[in-house]
Amino acid sequence: MDQAFLLILTGVTSILALLVGVWRLRLPLSSLKRGASRALECLGVMLGFFVLNLAVGIAGTLLWRQATGIFLSLYHVNDATLLGISLLQGLVFEWWRRESREPKG
């Protein structure tokens, strides 16, 4: 039931957003595919940062343990906050890249 509720809820709000976009804001449907592709790309970069953070975090923790003999828990990287910060990193990086590439003005 939880699953159906969430899927129905987000399905309904997605349809509402589509209707507002088409009828109220007069957005062309043809640009929806391009927008979705850009969103996918942005999400990909965000996930790339997440994997990078995980890899560096794990390797850094293990190296720290080896080098100092002081215990540092690997569970620090197993924190949902890391995903949120990684998403932010990816968003900023992707928009920086786009802004640098697209002509001004």
């Binding site: 939880d2 592709s37 999400l43 970069v45 215990f71 690997l74």
Partner: protein, 204 residues
Amino acid sequence: MRWERLWQSVGMAGIVVFFVSAFSPLPNALYRWSASSSEVRPADAIVVLGSSVGANGVLGCGSLQRAVRGITLYRASEAPLIVFSGPNLTGVNEAQVRAELARALGVPSGAILVEDEAFTTREEAARIGATLRGRNLRRILLVTDPQHMRRARALFERVGLQALAATAESAGAADTAPEGRLSLMRETLGELLARSYYHAAGYL
């Protein structure tokens, strides 16, 4: 163009993994596949592995479940000795908090041992193994969660103990809500990663 394609593919893979993890029974199936089941028989000692304790002295969910499982086994006379493990990472000694809980629930102080200097499962096996072998105790009931059991058991057997699994089940294993399944997936992948690391490092 290649940049776009690459990251679009990663993004799509992320979405697929997210929806499959949240809305399909895959996390529950992976959990069952990676989990061990209990084989409780009388032993020389019960060993309750560490988990977590808050800075306010309250045991984490997993820690409490393991401690209660160990105490229940002791009260059922499955072993005459119970070892609580758990270091002091937050300013509170997890093993001591569990020992106090056990005493409050009727376990005599003389039947309790505390190991509070091991930080990893490997260190727990080495330190507790040495203590128990020194007392000529060889067969233990090992208490941890079902996913952690395979790695923990192998480590305890490597230090010369016969480890019988006494799993401390959590309600999350049967969770079918999307958030619960995402948590289950994260825990399962974390344990699989830990197993891979232990294999690569030659600990298993």
